[in-house]
Structure formats: structure tokens, C-alpha cells
Point group: C2
Chain length 169, copies 2
């Protein structure tokens, strides 16, 4: 059974967390939500609650097959958390699937792993993505090796399917 | 391409609409949201917005392959709408797939189609379901012919997969 880590925090984009999360559970996989605190209920951008199962500080990246980074305003806070950067860098180094959507790119920027990689994001952070060295394209789905990216909740059908396919390998 | 009708209205349960909707879009199908008014933005129980594409009064049930009825408090209002009952009865008579979850059972009760049928729902409306003649069971997923039911958002992985499988036929 595959095990996926999903980042959560205040003002996460509700569907960008929940759609891929439930979609991967549909495959019979375990999706663990981790936030700045364990067992805390974070509120989505539109108000949907999500109670974190784990504290980011306690996460051992090697326990997971893939990482889901939702957007919203959450990445603005989580990109400052050394544990988030430690997790992202470790999973990237070990070629684990990393799915990131919308504003989630901010976290990958701060982890310093986008240089020379093809990716997309909300147009709002396009300049930040390019300045970080990404080859930014305006497409619903970009798969570059282990990195899977999409732009907005409208892209969720292809985003989640691509994550599922990549994790299946 | 399959075409699915999804009911929407104020205080719909956010994920019970959006998860199956996006999941069916992932299959390449069209999901049309219809509410008491067209082009109106309804707010979910937790605040996620959904703008209706169609007015329930304009829906021709024969245009659709399946019906999705989300829960939340929405069904309490929509069960009073003669157009909703017309649509549900027509699709049921024509053996179209009807997926209903949580409090959505109220709408099927008012359509008078549950007598002798096996189904589930939130435990909150269990008594109403039984009084309407349903054989109520406490299971994550119940499939009885064209009727597919689940209890809460926790059941969404199996609920949506069952809808997809049934619509594929």
C-alpha cells in the first residue's frame, strides 16, 4: 500500500487538498496530513476544515511514497518552515513524486529545487517561478520527472490522475 | 461521453458535491450543476462556492445518464421543489444511476422511490429512511440496482468509484 504525505495549514485551498487526498484513498492508499501542529483543525480558504494527523517536525520523509502540496495562501506560511523544506528536499533527492498546484510552487521555490525544471502554477506566481529558474508553461498539467504541477482547481481532474499514475509507476 | 446532472443549492455539503463531480470529470464526462436558479453562486455548508449552470425548471432528465444528489442541509429545501421530484422520479423510472449521500436521502424520500429498496444515509435521517419504506443498513456503500448510497464524506472514495463503475455499466 502506498503512503502519501499531504501538507496542510491555514488558508489551504480546500479542493486542492481534498480532491487528490480522497482520490488517492480511492486507490486504497493512505494519505497522512501534516501541519505545523498535529491534531489541529486548519480552515481552508473557503472554510472546509482539515485536522492534521501529524506534526511536520515529526515527519520522516522516507516513510512516504509521494508528497502532495496544495495551494491557497498556505504555502506563504509553510515555505518559511525548515521542516517543510527538509521534507521537500529529501523527497525530491530521492525522486519521490511531488504534486504541487496553484500557489504551492512557492514551497518548491524556497526548497530550491525548480532550477531547469518544467512546471506550471497559478499565473499569480509565474514571475516567482521563472525567477527561481523554472521553465514555466501555461498548461493544465506539467509532468517533468518526479515533479507534477497544475494551475488551479479547474485542473484537478488531470492533476490527481497524473499523481495516481505516477505513484503507480 | 456521459452526461451527469448534479443538484446544488445553499448549504450543500461541499465535498459531497465536488469530489464525485471532479471524479466524473476525470473520466472525461460532463457534469452539469442545476439549482433553483441558473448562474447563481450557492455556498456550501463549509463555504465552498458553486455556481449553478442550469435552472432545475429547465432540466430535461432524458438528457442525462445519471444523477448526483449531495447532502448537507440543501436537501431540506430542494425536496420541496416539484422540479427536483420530477427529475428524480423520471430518472428512477428510466433506471438511470442515482447517487445520494448523507442527507440526500430526504429528496428520494419525497420522490417516493425508496419503498422496499436497500439504502444508507447519515444516521441522522435513518428513521425517515425507514419510515419511507427503505431497508436501511449502516454500511459505507449500498448499491441496490440503480440506487447508490453512502453515509458521510468519509465514504466518498467508495461512493464516487461506485458511481463511476455503474455509469460505465
Amino acid at each position: 500500500m502506498k503512503k502519501i504525505l499531504a501538507l496542510v495549514g491555514d488558508i489551504y485551498e480546500d479542493l486542492e487538498l481534498w480532491y487528490p487526498k480522497i482520490r488517492m484513498e480511492e486507490e486504497g492508499w493512505k494519505v497522512v496530513t501534516a501541519g505545523p501542529e498535529a491534531n489541529r483543525t486548519y480552515s481552508g480558504k473557503h472554510g472546509y476544515p482539515c485536522t492534521s494527523e501529524a506534526d511536520l517536525a515529526d515527519i520522516e520523509p522516507s516513510d512516504y511514497d509521494a508528497l502532495l502540496v496544495p495551494g491557497g495562501f498556505m504555502p506563504d506560511k509553510l515555505r518559511r518552515d525548515p521542516n517543510v523544506l527538509r521534507i521537500v528536499r529529501d523527497m525530491h533527492t530521492n525522486n519521490k513524486v511531488i504534486g504541487f498546484i496553484c500557489h504551492a510552487g512557492w514551497i518548491l521555490i524556497s526548497a530550491g529545487i525548480l532550477k531547469g525544471r518544467k512546471a506550471t502554477s497559478t499565473v499569480g506566481i509565474k514571475d516567482d517561478m521563472i525567477n527561481a529558474g523554472a521553465e514555466w508553461v501555461n498548461e493544465p498539467l506539467v509532468v517533468d520527472g518526479n515533479l507534477i504541477s497544475s494551475r488551479t482547481p479547474v485542473d484537478l481532474p488531470v492533476f490527481a490522475r497524473a499523481m495516481v499514475d505516477a505513484i503507480k509507476g
